[in-house]
């Protein structure tokens, strides 16, 4: 919750100084960095889902990477909607804050869904993978 308040204050500061070239540069770098990191984590997630050996390890990759990368990409979207507006008014800032609320929702919902899937797998007694190569 505190992060949200901080983000809204940050948005207010940005909206005061949006047309300054330094602020534009910083915003550009932030957007590119978070978008690139988000895409990288998404790629890592899909590699993990394809390459890990069993149900639990695959969901480990899916749950963690998916949440983080979605949050990073949505943050980039939120900043981009602030940056690309011609005139900053209430509707633009409101759109950016709405994307922040979606981030909150995913932050709660996605790990819970992963937990529910793992629990269902555990209850239906799926055997976890064991590394037989090192044991022998």
């Amino acid at each position: 919750m505190a992060i949200n308040v901080l983000a809204v204050i940050l948005f207010a500061i940005i909206s005061q100084t949006i047309h300054h070239p330094t602020v534009q540069l910083i915003l550009n770098i932030l957007i590119m960095a978070s978008l690139g990191l988000g895409l990288f984590f998404f790629f890592a997630t899909s590699v993990g889902v394809l390459r890990f050996p069993d149900f639990f390890t695959r969901l480990h990759a899916a749950g963690k990477g998916d949440t983080l990368s979605t949050i990073l990409i949505l943050l980039a979207c939120s900043l981009f909607s602030l940056k690309s507006a011609k005139t900053l008014d209430q509707t633009t800032i409101l759109a950016a804050i709405k994307i922040l609320l979606i981030i909150n929702f995913i932050f709660i919902g996605s790990p819970t869904a992963t937990h529910a899937l793992i629990e269902a797998g555990y209850n239906s007694e799926i055997d976890p993978w064991e590394n037989n190569a090192t044991r022998n």
Binding site: F105, G109, T112, H115, A116, E119
Partner: protein, 334 residues
């Protein structure tokens, strides 16, 4: 051609459709079908149909997957494969390819993709785009046409949802004389899921109400908001047990509310008849609503009608889920 990415998405959608029919496990097939619906939703956003994309994301990908899972959970997910009936499949494949070839022949008469001067984009739809805001003060043209210009259509679509719920309810209803299983009414003992859903459900319902009320200015409206409200009730039924959600909205009250939703829509349209106008002509409401002209009366009437739609659709989705998951007994959930 609108966007390069849409061509790619259409090919992906085709692959997912084939995969969803190919897999020999019903649960996986249903999950792949949910992914197919999400990709369809992306395509519709690309084509500028945001309201349809919203509906597809809520209904096609969300609720219909839940319905499939609710049926498969209590029955079976296995498919018996019989290699002997391949001849019937080949015969029907030839039949379908023949029909598809005949349809392809008619392709030359269709307008090219994204042509603004095509016949479908010029006549009545041009009139709607140019005059809807002047006549109703609703910037979302989809809501304006849905709830005002084509309200007769929407009213009967709402009735179809209500009749479908009624049909499902009557087909699955047991007469209550069967003994209930003792072990069935078991509460979900998973603390994390219960706490998280208890935290999320109020926000989902608030968002559903926002979607209903803000449908004039943003994508949304009665159908989408109703589905979101129904989905929040389904989430409660999944995270807790079915007894708990029955205390919130009992089955009898659900049917009553579904009727009330249809009555709000039809009654709101019937009032202008008594005022000397035609059925569903909202501008007559200006005489009854204080301080509104004919234009604002139409705008406010759309909100009333959307509320009726939302109530019926909410009760519809909730009732269908409850009937399917408990086989008409309303005693146990997933």
């Amino acid at each position: 051609m609108l966007l390069g990415i849409e061509t790619l998405l259409l090919i992906l959608v085709l692959i997912l459709a084939v995969v969803s029919l190919w897999i020999r496990d019903l649960m996986s097939s249903v999950v792949v079908f949910g992914a197919y619906s999400f990709l369809m939703c992306l395509i519709w956003t690309g084509m500028g149909a945001v309201d349809v994309a919203f509906t597809e994301a809520a209904v096609g990908a969300g609720v219909s997957t839940v319905f499939f899972v609710a049926v498969l959970f209590n029955t079976t997910r296995r498919i018996q494969f019989n290699p002997l009936d391949l001849s019937a499949k080949i015969f029907s494949a030839i039949l379908c390819i023949g029909t598809g070839y005949l349809l392809m022949l008619g392709l030359s008469d269709l307008p090219s993709w994204g042509d603004p001067q095509a016949l479908v984009n010029t006549n009545v739809s041009k009139y709607y785009i140019e005059s809807a805001y002047k006549q109703t003060k609703v910037p979302n043209l989809v809501t304006a046409v849905l709830a005002d210009y084509r309200a007769f259509d929407t009213m009967f679509e709402t009735c179809v949802v209500f009749i479908a719920v009624l049909g499902i309810f009557m087909l699955l209803k047991k007469d209550g004389r069967e003994p209930l299983k003792e072990t069935s009414a078991k509460a979900n003992d998973n603390l994390i899921i219960r706490v998280a859903s208890r935290f999320m459900v109020p926000f989902i319902q608030l968002f559903g109400l926002y979607v209903v009320a803000h449908g004039h200015y943003s994508p949304g409206g009665g159908f989408q908001g109703g589905v979101i409200l129904g989905a929040s009730l389904i989430l409660v039924a999944m995270a807790f047990n079915i007894e708990f959600v029955k205390q919130l909205l009992s089955i009898k009250r659900m049917l009553l509310l579904a009727v009330i939703g249809v009555i709000i829509f039809a009654g709101w349209g019937l009032v202008p008849v008594f005022l000397g106008q035609s059925f569903l002509d909202y501008s007559a409401w200006a005489a009854l609503l204080p301080g509104t002209g004919e234009i604002m009366a139409r705008s406010h009437s759309m909100l009333a009608v959307e509320i009726g739609v939302a109530i019926t659709v909410m009760c519809g989705m909730y009732g269908i889920y409850m009937s399917l998951v408990s086989d008409g007994r309303f005693d146990k959930g997933l």
